[in-house]
Symmetry: C2
C-alpha cells in the first residue's frame, strides 16, 4: 500500500495511526501542501479532490481519511478500531465526526488561505478563528467523554480506536496554535495515554521523513 500524505496533515496523521495500530507496512508519497503539490495534475490523477490522504491499495485508490480507516478495519479486523455493538459504534463514529466534520474542515490549509488571501484576514484573526472552532468542538467532546460511562483509558473502553485516532491529531493541532487545554482534562488524559503507544507516537508529524519541509 502507498499512502499519499504530508507530515502536517491531520487527516493523513489519522491514517498513519490506523496503519500502525493494524501493524500494516506501507510506502509513503509526500505531497507538499504549502507548495501546492496537491493541486498539480499528477496528484489530481490520484485524488481529484486534491486533498491528502489517499491510500493506494492493490484494489483501488481510496480517499477520505475516515472512509480509509473503516476500510482498513473491515479488511484487517485485528485489532478492531470500532466496538462490537451498534450503539458503541455509533458513539465512536460520532466522537470521530465531531473532530472530522465540525472542527478540522474549518481549520485546514485551504480554508485558512481563503480567509487570508480572499478575505484579507491577518495571522491574529486566523489564530482566533482556528482556536474558536477547536474550543467549540472540544467543549462538547470533553463533556461527552467525561460523562460517558463507556469512556475508559481511551475514548471508548480500554483499547484505542477510531475516536482516539481522530482526537489525537486535533490535540496536536490545538497545541501548535497554543490553545489552552486546561478546560479539557479528559481529552488531555486520553491524548497522553495514546501518545505512550508506539502506533500514535510514530505517526506524529515530527516523526515523519518530510517534517519541516
Amino acid at each position: 500500500m502507498k499512502l499519499y500524505g504530508y507530515f502536517r496533515s491531520s487527516a493523513a496523521f489519522r491514517v498513519r495511526i490506523a496503519l500502525n495500530l493494524k501493524n500494516l507496512e506501507y510506502d509513503s508519497a509526500f505531497i507538499h501542501l504549502p507548495r501546492g503539490d496537491q493541486s498539480k495534475a499528477e496528484f489530481l490523477g490520484v485524488n481529484p479532490q486534491g486533498l491528502v490522504p489517499a491510500l493506494e491499495t492493490d484494489r483501488d485508490t481510496l480517499i477520505q481519511s475516515l472512509a480509509i480507516i473503516e476500510y482498513l478495519d473491515e479488511t484487517h479486523p485485528e485489532p478492531p478500531l470500532l466496538p462490537g455493538d451498534a450503539v458503541g459504534r455509533a458513539r465512536v463514529r460520532a466522537l470521530a465526526a465531531i473532530v472530522a466534520c465540525d472542527i478540522h474542515p474549518l481549520n485546514n490549509l485551504r480554508v485558512l488561505r481563503y480567509l487570508h488571501r480572499s478575505l484579507g484576514h491577518d495571522e491574529a484573526a486566523l489564530e482566533i478563528w482556528y482556536n474558536h472552532w477547536i474550543a467549540s468542538g472540544f467543549r462538547a467532546l470533553e463533556q461527552l467523554l467525561a460523562d460517558g460511562d463507556k469512556t475508559g483509558r481511551f475514548c471508548h473502553g480500554d483499547e484505542p480506536g477510531l475516536a482516539d485516532i481522530a482526537l489525537v491529531p486535533q490535540v496536536v493541532n490545538a497545541d501548535r496554535y497554543r490553545l489552552d487545554l486546561a478546560p479539557y482534562p479528559t481529552i488531555t488524559r486520553i491524548f497522553d495515554t495514546c501518545m505512550q503507544l508506539d502506533a500514535f507516537a510514530a505517526a506524529h508529524p515530527q516523526q515523519q521523513p518530510d517534517r519541516g519541509t
Copy 2:
C-alpha cells in the same frame, strides 16, 4: 424514535431520508436554529454539541448524521445503504464525506454567523464563500461520479444509498444559493433520480411541518 431536527438543516435532512428509505416511523422535535434553540439548556441536555440532528432511540441518544445513518443501516439492514464489498463501502463513505466533511461544515449557520458577526462580512461575501466551497467539492464529486464505473442510476449502482443521502441535501442548498449547476450534469441527474423517490421527496425541507419558521 424521536428525531431532533430543523427543516432547513441538511444534516437532519440526511437522517430523514435514511429513516424514510428504511421505512421507519419516528416522532419529530423541531429545534429552531435561527432563534438559537440548539444552544438552550434543554437541548444541550440532548446533544452537548448543540447541533441537530439527534436521534433518540430506545437504547441511547445518537448524534452526528453519518453515525446515525450507519447505526440505522446496521440495526435495520434492509434496504442496505452501503454496498456489500469493502472497496464499494469505502467509495460510498468517501463520496458522502466529501459533502459531510469538506462542503457542509463550512457553510452551516454557525460558520456563516461567525463570518458575519465576528468578521464583519456582508451577505454578498457570504454567498461567494458559500458557493466557493460547494463548487470546490462538486467539481471533485462530479469527476468521481462521471468517471466511476460503479456509478449507476445513483451514486453507487442502481439503488440509493449513503452517498445519495449526503448529496441530495447539498444540491438543495446549492440551488437555494443559486449556484449554477450546469457544470455538474452527473450530480444533477442523480439528484433528479433521487427526488422521484418518495423517501427523498418527503424529506425535503419544504415538506416539513416546521418549514418557514
